[in-house]
Symmetry: C2
Subunit: 77 residues, 2 copies
């Protein structure tokens, strides 16, 4: 299975969702990207359609915004 | 693995998210409940903490609100 990408920004909502997603789909199936730290991937997240974090981009390119931690604008600061 | 429960109300956002979740975690690992039709489970969803659909309640009881289709109040009508 192609990997999903989980974008987050270290917020409590993000960390909680990250644990849930990894439990559900397996750590080997998801790349976790902290766009608060790896800032040169913010642009990639936006292009994928991520409006807020935490969000999971599926192997088919769909974006699942999970709960609500922060907007991309907040992450950009 | 205990099953997750995916609550939805048949909206386009719900159907899209349902396909993604089933692809990601496997149909055998998720019970799909259409609370627009199975209305006697709306109460169960609310007690689990579901505020809007689509939402996934994990085996550990966490609620992942995925994107946004409709509020529980909308579903109640």
């Amino acid at each position: 299975m192609a990997k999903s990408v989980f974008y987050h920004a270290g917020c409590p909502v993000c960390v909680s969702a990250e644990h849930d997603i990894i439990n559900l789909i397996g750590a080997e199936n998801v790349e976790v990207v902290h766009i608060g730290e790896v800032r040169n991937r913010i642009d990639e997240a936006e292009k994928a359609g991520v409006k807020s974090v935490p969000a999971l981009v599926t192997p088919t390119g769909n974006v699942l915004h999970i709960n609500y931690g922060a907007s991309i604008a907040d992450v950009k600061g």
